[in-house]
């Protein structure tokens, strides 16, 4: 059997003995992962965060400049169209999420993928096309403060979420606080977020009873809104970008982490898990 060359891609289903050395990885984990190790000194630099939402108002004082913005729609031939977006934010929500990420990770690169604005009909397909685009771009973090209840989309969303997981794109998704089956937050390949009642943006809890895996600040949050304004708001959709921002901080310091390692770091640094200083 031929030896696997170092540059050769390994088969997905087996690991020949001779190839073990080729996948040796850094084991630079401290004895106890703490917040200082996880993101101390990080500003989120070199991490690209995509806000999959209603668009983002570029230049908002709490958001700053965007690295890129696209709008997703469907052409007459029924194929998805992704084009540069000059309309900004259609309702304020995406700007709010972007502002929260920026406050936590000031040097991250922010991108907007607008998947709203076409009305209800077709919104599920636009969401799917937008997520596919974001995964193809390889954004390190994708903030999804939205969900769908359509079963026919669940399978496709699941495949995309798994694909993102293996391509090192972390999907951070809002959980539902209503008794309905919705997606993608229920998938184990994403990081799902609900709200707690605290006021510290860095306070977050690991939930030992999933499917919601983390709780972050989501109540009475001051957020960026349209026209350079700020308002106060509540909802899981604002808890989600808190975790997205913390993910950007961690990946800024430890870019080698895969999504499952990142989730482990989040677990170990959660307020209810981390040792008290």
């Amino acid at each position: 059997m031929a030896l696997v060359e170092a540059h050769e891609e390994l088969p997905a289903w087996s690991l020949p003995a001779a190839a073990v050395e080729g996948i040796s990885l850094s084991a630079d984990w401290p004895e106890r992962v703490d917040r200082e190790w996880a993101w101390g000194g990080s500003t989120g630099a070199n991490v690209r965060v995509c806000i999959l939402d209603s668009g983002v108002e570029s230049g908002h004082p709490l958001v700053g400049d965007l690295e890129g913005a696209v709008a997703v729609s469907f052409g007459e031939d029924g194929d998805p169209v992704v084009e540069e977006d000059s309309e900004g934010d259609l309702c304020g929500h995406g700007t709010a999420c972007a502002g929260i990420v920026r406050a936590l990770a000031p040097d991250c690169g922010l991108y907007s993928a607008r998947v709203l604005g076409a009305g209800y009909t077709g919104s599920g397909r636009v969401l799917l096309a937008g997520l596919r685009w974001a995964v193809e771009q390889g954004f390190e973090v994708v903030n999804m403060s939205l969900s769908t209840t359509k079963q026919e989309l669940a399978v496709l969303l699941h495949e995309l979420a798994d694909s993102a997981y293996f391509r090192r794109s972390v999907l951070v998704a809002s959980a539902h606080n209503m008794p309905v089956d919705s997606y993608p937050w229920r998938f184990s390949s994403v990081i799902s977020v609900g709200s707690h009642e605290g006021t510290d943006p860095l306070q977050f809890f690991y939930n030992p009873s999933p499917p919601v895996e983390f709780f972050a600040r989501g109540l009475d949050v001051e957020i960026a809104w349209l026209g350079g304004a700020t308002i106060r708001a509540s909802g899981n959709s604002f808890a989600t970008p808190h975790i997205a921002g913390i993910c950007a901080l961690i990946l800024g310091k430890h870019p080698e982490l895969t999504p499952f390692q990142l989730k482990s770091v989040l677990h170990l640094t959660a307020t209810n898990v981390a040792p008290t200083a």
């Binding site: 309702c91 709203l116 969900s147």
Partner: protein
């Protein structure tokens, strides 16, 4: 008349009047408004054919003029809540001129605060529940968020009943007049009580027997 149409006609008769379902929706917005001590509360129904949100029930501010008015589902926060299935609470919204204008178009006045939740039934999003202007002094809590979810669930069930009644009725309206006769008969029987109902049933059984002989 096929058997399916006959069943639909009978169902339409038994489902009761649309007014009854509308009254149920109205009761949901009135209780929601009272519990949250809010200035207004509304239920929007999604019209899938036109992709618009329609005011179906309003309590408080705007209740005299808004029912039946509609706006595109791509517009404003109600549209966002519908599309993303995510409930949302905003306060101090008056600082944003564009947002205020959108809301004023929808409601006729500019609220300072807004709570909105999607009305979900199974995998369908049927509409949106909004509660406007809770007392400014009270900070929003998770308990209130749960309460909003409970009201939304109740409103979704009421909306689903209303839609079922409208669907059954549209089967009648599109069909021949004979469906409607059967529906009226079913409705009349359904509303009888006691001896009258028993007599009505005996009469119908005799009629069925007579018709069945031919």
């Amino acid at each position: 008349m096929t058997e399916d149409r006959l069943r639909a006609a009978v169902a339409a008769g038994v489902l009761g009047s649309e007014e009854g379902h509308v009254a149920l929706l109205q009761s949901v917005v009135e209780v929601a408004r009272a519990i949250f001590k809010a200035r207004a509360s509304s239920i929007f129904l999604l019209d899938e054919e036109t992709d618009e949100l329609v005011f179906e029930a309003v309590s408080g501010e705007g209740s005299d003029r808004l029912v039946g008015t509609r706006f595109p589902s791509s517009k404003g926060l109600a549209g966002w809540v519908l599309v993303t299935r995510q409930p949302l609470v905003l306060e101090d919204v008056t600082g944003d001129a564009r947002f205020a204008r959108d809301l004023a178009e929808q409601t006729g006045y500019v609220p300072k605060g807004l709570m909105a939740a999607p009305l979900l039934h199974g995998e369908r999003a049927l509409g949106v529940l909004e509660v406007l202007d809770r007392p400014e002094s009270s900070k929003f809590t998770l308990a209130e968020s749960d309460l909003l979810g409970l009201f939304a669930n109740q409103a979704a069930l009421a909306l689903d009943l209303l839609l079922a009644a409208r669907r059954a009725r549209s089967v009648l309206e599109e069909g021949a007049g004979e469906d409607a006769v059967v529906a009226r008969l079913a409705a009349a029987l359904f509303h009888l009580e006691g001896d009258e109902r028993a007599a009505g049933l005996r009469l119908l059984e005799a009629l069925t027997e007579t018709l069945g002989r031919k």
